[in-house]
């Protein structure tokens, strides 16, 4: 007879595990910051620099970083109560129901896929610098190459991701510091850093955009099944600190750019290459290009596998087409979901490229991030996450933070200027799709009954 427990509940084995072992604290730090630290973030920083400039851009990064530190505490609480790899969608569903979970989180994930498209284009530009291939071919190589590796069931290990992240961190900080010293030598440091007061509204929009730079740090909670709650909690706040330092220094480096972006032959301006060119010439550009490609690859590999499993899970419930709910028995990868995600990624990359939706992709992602973070603050003050003894003042502070984040999202949209319409269309499309998926999820969960297959 199976065991019943009046005995102590078993604990998770801490020794060597199947596949990859328990990640170290440093590996988690690298994973948390590496997910957020994508090549597209330099473009986001450049946009913030264009909006407010100099130390104001650094201020926007700092304020957004402080918000994310508070948010890391919020996410820690959510993770402690519901320790699941499903992350955000599980938290929102537990507090508000399944439909709300899908509506709140699906647009965020869809816009992440849009960002992958933009990331692929940047990698394409980096490829174009290294080899004589058109940038869109480089983007395709990146997408298809990463997809093929995921199809084979290979996941970039924590150590490899840590090396790629550290490479990106130190090399971009290095060239940014070189740019700063060069500006100092030219006697321009004061003029490039001390820009005129941008106004409250512009600064708020810049903070909203800066939230985009931290997007993904909270995905560390999805490692809780393997790493444990305390490690994740520490790694989340540690990752935000790393990102604050990184973005603050790179923002100052971007302020020191003397290259005129309008003279760029590229489809869009790639600031990290411009700083590299200014700081060290051709070899430095090639080095930075290689480092950025490796960091993008390590980040996209994990994201694609995670998204394929979410797609598989949604399809298995009938929210998405049934044929996507297939696991490969050998590699345990969701092959059909991976194929569909590749097609989608190529399609979205083409849309961004053909319609030059570079700014809109970043603005829409920033807005979705702010809204998801607002939702996290809101549900933290509800059952099952609310502690009985939590003071009214803390609860009010949580709700105020949620409202503030919604305000930042609105600020980003209103200050998107010529990209306002495209940004709004992107948001309408993703939230509209999420609404339809939520309706299907509600419908399917009520009749999701299964009948066992007969033996043989």
């Amino acid at each position: 007879m199976p065991t019943l427990s009046n005995k102590p509940t078993p604990v998770l084995r801490q020794t060597a595990t199947a596949g990859e072992g328990k990640p170290s604290d440093n590996a988690l730090l690298a994973s948390g910051s590496g997910t957020a630290m994508a090549s597209v973030c330099a473009v986001g920083l450049f946009q913030i620099e264009q909006l407010v400039g100099g130390l104001w851009a650094v201020g926007a990064v700092l304020l957004a970083g402080m918000l994310c530190l508070v948010l890391s505490r919020v996410f820690s609480r959510l993770m402690y109560v519901v320790p699941t790899g499903a992350g955000l969608i599980a938290y929102v569903s537990r507090a508000l129901g399944k439909r709300h979970g899908v509506v709140a989180v699906a647009p965020y994930l869809m816009l992440m896929l849009f960002l992958v498209g933009f990331e692929a284009l940047i990698v394409g530009e980096l490829f174009a610098r290294l080899f004589t291939v058109p940038s869109y071919i480089g983007a395709l190589i990146f997408l298809i190459g990463t997809w093929a590796i995921c199809q084979a069931g290979l996941r970039i290990g924590y150590q490899a991701q840590a090396i790629a992240t550290a490479g990106l961190f130190f090399s971009l900080i290095g060239i940014s510091l070189l740019a700063l010293f060069a500006a100092g030598e030219r006697g321009e440091l004061q003029s490039v850093l001390l820009k005129s007061d941008p106004g409250v509204f512009e600064f708020a929009a810049a903070v909203g955009q800066a939230l985009f730079l931290f997007m993904g740090f909270e995905l560390l909670t999805s490692h809780v099944e393997l790493a444990g709650k305390e490690s994740i909690k520490k790694a989340m706040s540690g990752s935000v600190w790393i990102l604050i330092v990184f973005y603050s220094i790179v923002a100052m480096g971007i302020s020191c750019l003397v290259i005129d972006p309008s003279g760029s032959k590229q489809a869009f301006f790639v600031p990290q290459l411009a700083i590299a060119e200014q700081a060290g010439g051709t070899l430095t550009v090639a080095f930075i290009a290689v480092v950025c490609i490796l960091a993008s690859f390590s980040s996209f590999n994990g994201a694609l596998l995670a998204m394929s499993r979410l797609t598989y899970a949604l399809a298995s419930q009938g929210v998405l087409p049934k044929h996507l709910a297939q696991l490969d028995p050998r590699t345990l990868t969701a092959r059909s979901a991976l194929n569909t995600l590749l097609i989608l990624a190529v399609l979205l990359t083409s849309i961004i490229y053909l319609f030059a939706m570079y700014e809109a992709a970043i603005f829409a992602a920033a807005i979705a991030a702010a809204l998801v973070y607002a939702m996290a603050c809101f549900i933290r003050e509800r059952q099952p996450f609310l502690e009985e003894k939590r003071s009214v003042i803390r609860r009010l502070a949580g709700i105020t933070l949620a409202m503030g984040l919604v305000g930042l999202a609105a600020g980003v949209l209103l200050d998107a200027r010529e990209a306002t319409l495209e940004t709004a269309l992107l948001l309408i499309a993703t939230y509209g799709f999420a609404l339809l998926a939520a309706i299907r999820a509600g419908k399917k969960s009520s009749d999701n009954k299964m009948v066992p297959k007969t033996a043989g």
């Binding site: 007879m1 199976p2 065991t3 019943l4 427990s5 005995k7 102590p8 509940t9 078993p10 604990v11 998770l12 084995r13 801490q14 595990t17 199947a18 596949g19 990859e20 519901v82 320790p83 699941t84 790899g85 499903a86 969608i89 599980a90 938290y91 569903s93 537990r94 399944k98 979970g101 809780v224 099944e225 393997l226 979410l310 598989y312 899970a313 949604l314 399809a315 298995s316 419930q317 009938g318 049934k322 709910a325 696991l327 028995p329 345990l332 969960s445 999701n448 009954k449 299964m450 009948v451 066992p452 297959k453 033996a455 043989g456």
Partner: protein
């Protein structure tokens, strides 16, 4: 015998009846504990080379810890509910290496196609 024990035994019987599935996982060994959070009832199973070899001894350490309300566990073990749904919506939590629960998920999908 409690309902959870009964459900687990029936589930294991259904799995063992699928020779091809058991054979496909003949290189898989894993210990699993199912914890009903509302009743504090715990059952466990030891899998060796794809076969469940022990459901009687509750080990001190396991490779996979699965926690949920007893109602959800009954629904899954009695094939009324796809485990992906309660997992994704936070009603069921899993602790342990991904490889183990991906295999478990695959077994579920083979026993009960969605």
């Amino acid at each position: 015998m409690t309902r959870l024990v009964d459900s687990l035994q029936n589930f294991v019987s259904t799995y063992h009846a699928k020779d091809d599935l058991v054979k496909a996982y003949d290189n898989w060994s894993c210990s699993i504990a199912l914890i009903a959070s509302d009743s504090d009832e715990t059952v466990s199973l030891q899998i060796e080379n794809g076969k469940v070899v022990d459901m009687e001894h509750l080990p001190e350490e396991v490779d996979l810890l699965i926690t949920s309300d007893s109602g959800v566990l009954y629904d899954i073990l009695e094939f009324r509910r796809d485990p992906n749904e309660p997992y994704m919506f936070g009603e069921l939590t899993v602790q342990g290496p991904e490889e183990h629960f991906m295999r478990l998920d695959y077994i579920m999908s083979m026993l009960c196609p969605h």
